[in-house]
Amino acid sequence: MNLALRDVRHNLGRFVLTCLGIGMLLMIVMGMGGIYRGIIEDATLLVDRVDADVWVVQRGTRGPFAEVSRVPPSLQHRVAAVPGVVSSRDFVFHTIQREREGKPLRIAVVGLSWPEDRGDWLPLVEGRPLAQNHYELVADRSLGLPLGEEIQLGRERYRVVGVTTGMLASGGDGIAFATVRDAQAIQLELSGEAVRLEREARRTRARRGQLPLVQPALAERAGSPSASIPALPSQALTAVLASVEPGREEEVLETVSRWSDVTGYTTTGQRDLLLMGNVAKVRAQIGLFRALLTVIATIIMALILYTLTLDKLHDIALLKLIGAPNRVILALILQQALLIGAVGFGVALALGSWLFPRFPRRVILTEPDLVQLAAIVVAISVLASLLGIWKALRVSPNEAVG
């Protein structure tokens, strides 16, 4: 006769409430694991999806995600000429914050190298990839920008032509994809007043310097648009991405490493930079918090099981009196602990599956993580029942008589 099940049957309300409480606690432990996994996934998502073998960034930086990187547009042609490189393309990445319907809207803007890259690789759930060089965006669903919506960024309005899902930057912001030129414009476009001030500052610098004395034309053009000043560089890129022939990544990196203005990373190197840099502390913090929650869950479960055992001490004494061996009493407590753990885990999974998709950041429940948590729950249940078992085994059958 299974005493644990019969006790549960008799005290079903108490059991359900206990499982609900334990389940919610385990859901938080599960959620922490999911958030941890989500951070890693978000951090490396773009690196993994963008399909580049080598990332060429500003010399000495760990760009373009871990820190700011600026490289000249001509770099794309230089990289393309490296033996082993199949193709190269521009890449721009930056984050902006605007206001939409009275709420802050953070967008991670990624520039695609038009026309080679139109975003055909993006996981579209609606619409299409980019079809023209300007004024189109493919936005992630998390940004809340519906298909066809027009949004003012800088001086221009951009229309959402495609919607992706799960495309988030390492900070958890949804990504909007535009052409490289548009991404640069969104990042660097200045207001009219700012342009006027910049031109005036240029004129002042021109008057003070020696160069305009030998090149008077430069002084004349100081107040003109930037594009008409040949000495001024054109807008910078964040990185140049290269697709490399299989097995030749190291060779390409070797070539790039000899250039004094840039640094090259493989995709694996970029992943490491992100995981060791950007999100390392967050990962560590969430990992520690998860461990702490697991310990707390164990303590709470132990207290619950201990209380449940205290409630049954008289019955346990009675069982001993009528000759029940210790294994019967041990099974009563242990089976109940495992039952609470198992049902709690089920509750956590059901609640979490419903609740986590509603969280602002991604919470990813992977099968290995769930299996690991299930094993932890079994361990917690056994560990937590030890206190109750210890108490139960110390009960004298005499207590049933008194």
Partner: protein, 248 residues
């Protein structure tokens, strides 16, 4: 050639129980020697604190004596504080207990309370269930077998407890004021039940009671006072009278 006399169901020799030491030393039971034959039903009387429960827990192998020995079914099982066998297993096979309060396990139904005792006695689940139902039927509570203890009256609970106590056909039934929570008629029925079981199954029953109205049911009476036991009066059948029928 002489026939070997049957072994008694219970025999104690100079059982003594002392609590505390020095100034706090209390002798709860002193040199108690009794012999209860199979088929015999014995009452144990005495005021509160006289040592009845100490005696009952000592022969029930729950609370070891300080000195003296306990023999059950001819087997020496306790010698002073030293147990000579696995007491829990011995209780399971050879003893049954009934208390003042029925002491049923609250999360088990009436049938399951009996069935658990049978299963602990190594009976298979199906057979134990069948036997439990039979026992409850025999004791007149068969129709309440699928009810929890809280759904039974005091008398019904006590009958279920008796069924559990006799389930494994023990050699010794120990009952501590089993009728205290019952009215006199119900109390008498329970006492008669013990006698019937003892007669039928060849077991012995020791019943601690304050209820003098049903003393005629017992074969012998022991009285305890200040930890000392002595065999009681032989006029118990004339002293104890059943309650008169209620006036109409």
């Amino acid at each position: 050639m002489t026939a070997t006399p049957p072994t008694p169901a219970l025999e104690t020799r100079q059982l003594t129980k002392v609590y505390g030491e020095g100034n706090t030393r209390v002798v709860a039971m002193q040199d108690v020697t009794v012999r209860v034959e199979r088929g015999e039903v014995v009452a144990l009387l005495g005021p509160s604190g006289s040592g009845k429960s100490t005696f009952l827990t000592a022969v029930g192998l729950i609370n070891p004596p300080t000195s003296g020995s306990v023999w059950i079914g001819g087997e020496l099982v306790q010698e002073g504080p030293r147990a000579l066998t696995d007491l829990r297993a011995f209780r399971r096979r050879h003893m049954g207990f009934v208390f003042q309060k029925s002491n049923l396990i609250p999360f088990l139904k009436a049938r399951e309370n009996v069935q658990i005792a049978l299963e602990l006695g190594s009976l298979g689940s199906r057979e134990a269930r069948k036997r439990a139902l039979q026992l409850l039927d025999d004791l007149g509570v068969g129709e309440r077998s699928e009810h929890y203890p809280t759904e039974l009256s005091g008398g019904q609970q006590q009958r279920v407890a008796v069924a559990r106590a006799i389930a494994n056909q023990p050699e010794l039934i120990l009952a501590d004021e089993p009728t205290a929570a019952l009215d006199s008629n119900r109390g008498r029925q329970v006492m008669e039940l013990f006698r019937e079981i003892a007669r039928q199954r060849g077991s012995a029953a020791i019943v601690v009671t304050h209820d003098h109205r049903a003393l005629d049911v017992f074969d012998r009476i022991y009285e305890m006072e200040d930890g000392v036991i002595r065999e009681g009066q032989d006029d118990l059948h004339t002293r104890a009278k059943p309650d008169p029928p209620p006036a109409t």
